[in-house]
């Protein structure tokens, strides 16, 4: 039925090789209507923009070198700290203190006013639809923006003042400053400056590594199961601190006759060596 050729029918085959090649999505805009001389983006204009970038980067690097990023103490839910968001959230933080943004009106504060303000900002082009572009010819939009800016500056300032005041009253220093000073002091005294919680040192050291019994331990088959660091492996238990659990005689008996999966060693190790080993192992006690 509809297979006949219809010249007036517009057929577009999307994603099809039959689509004619376009002239490109982006055609360079024509600025001849604007006053003055335009210039090429690359290299002429970009060079100027990158000059600005160079200046900004120099300032930025100087800042990063001279001022380390702040770091306080590790988070502790029980710590008494005056919470402060980053500076660009201060105005919101302070605003939520206002009587009409807190208490019974907290919904009005969080959703109502800020929702309307940010919504208006997001949709500004659809609210301010006049042709005029100069800000002094758009009195409503400009006034609202100036008022919001003034409010933001005022709120940020009062949040900071309040914070500084609270700090002074409670005699606290901001944590990152306190930490830095403390670290500096410790550094001068040659102490470790880290505040991170380290895993507890509960490893038991090997006692008297120079003892000739250590040589026996290494040469005989002990080392195969109990490992070179004496920490044991698989079913073989650690021998570090074994002196806390067993007496010398018991150890000698285990070496000679074996225990559990451990085979008897009395044929492989001489009685004298067993005595030396057992004596040494019995001295393996955890440090006080």
């Amino acid at each position: 039925m509809a297979h006949g050729f219809k010249p007036d029918e517009k057929v577009v085959f999307v994603g099809d090789s039959r689509v004619k090649k376009g002239t490109g999505f982006i055609t360079p805009p024509d600025y001849t209507a604007y006053p003055g001389k335009s210039e090429a983006f690359i290299p002429n204009f970009l060079l100027k923009e990158w000059m600005v970038g160079v200046v900004v980067l120099v300032g930025f690097l100087v800042l990063t070198i001279s001022e380390p990023a702040p770091l306080g103490y590790p988070a502790d839910p029980g710590a008494s700290v005056i919470p402060m968001p980053d500076w660009y959230f201060l105005f919101l933080y302070e605003y939520l203190k206002l009587p009409y943004a807190s208490g019974d009106y907290v919904v009005l504060g969080t959703l109502g006013v800020s929702g309307v303000a940010f919504g208006a900002l997001l949709l500004a082009p659809f609210l301010d639809t006049g042709k005029e572009r100069r800000f002094y010819k758009r009195p409503i939009a400009s006034t609202l923006m100036f008022l919001s800016l003034a409010a933001v500056v005022y709120l940020t300032n009062s949040a900071w003042t309040h914070y500084a005041h609270e700090l002074e009253k409670s005699g606290m220093k901001p944590e990152h400053i306190q930490r830095e000073e403390e670290a500096h002091e410790k550094h001068l005294q040659g102490l470790p400056t880290s505040n991170a919680k380290q895993p507890e040192e509960n490893e038991i050291a090997i006692v008297d590594q120079q003892n000739p019994a250590m040589e026996i331990y290494k040469k005989s088959s002990c080392i195969n199961c109990h490992a070179a660091d004496m920490k044991g492996q698989g079913n073989a238990p650690t021998l570090r601190g074994v002196g806390d659990k067993l007496e010398k005689d018991e150890i000698a008996d285990i070496i000679a006759n074996g225990r559990g999966q451990m085979p008897p060693q009395k044929d492989a190790v001489s009685a004298e060596e067993i005595d030396q080993l057992a004596g040494w192992l019995a001295s393996q006690k955890a440090a006080e």
Partner: protein, 181 residues
């Protein structure tokens, strides 16, 4: 019936419409269906994965022995206690704080110091201009000794469920304040 008949009559004047699907329509729907299936098949497990925490049943906490009943006065006092808690893969003991006082009628009131405004920690009598009140240093929220909100905060301070047994105070889970308002 008459109404229906009229409708049909009117329709007969319109050009005939094809009732079955065209080949292109069929392919489009199939493509759309396959796309929807692939998207859903990939995304659904991930979404369920991401929202798991809100679907977990909260466990009701046990009571923790905190302090001898005899130490409780009419003035709120701060007591710390430990609570074993599980945070995902991490088991820890949380240091919790309660402000405990004995009300005039003899009931024990244990308040959580977490400010109902924005979650800072309130203190008792820590501001000269607000005597005998809980005061929050963040936004100046204030509460009565029973936790009733006086300023800034929208709700009274939460309280712990209290159990008294053998001369000791036991504290349980945190519940909304039932003493005031």
């Amino acid at each position: 019936m008459n109404h229906n008949h009229n409708d049909e009559h009117e329709e007969s004047h319109k050009p005939p419409r094809r009732t079955e699907m065209s080949r292109r329509q069929f392919l489009t729907y199939t493509l759309g269906g396959a796309t929807a299936y692939m998207a859903a098949g990939v995304v659904i497990p991930m979404v369920r994965f991401a929202v798991d925490p809100i679907l977990q049943k909260g466990e009701t906490g046990d009571f923790v022995k905190v302090v001898e009943s005899s130490k409780i006065t009419a003035e709120p006092q701060e007591f710390d206690f430990e609570l074993k808690q599980q945070d995902g893969w991490y088991n820890s003991t949380a240091q919790l704080t309660a402000w405990i006082r004995k009300a005039d009628d003899g009931t024990i009131i244990a308040l959580s110091p977490i400010c109902k405004h924005l979650g800072c920690l309130v203190g008792w009598n820590n501001n000269e201009s607000h005597v005998n009140e809980f005061y929050c240093p963040c936004h100046g929220a204030r509460y009565t000794p029973d936790g009733k909100n006086l300023a800034v905060a929208p709700k009274p301070l939460d309280m712990y469920t209290v159990k008294e047994d053998g001369g000791w105070i036991y504290l349980g889970e945190i519940i909304p304040n039932t003493v005031v308002n």
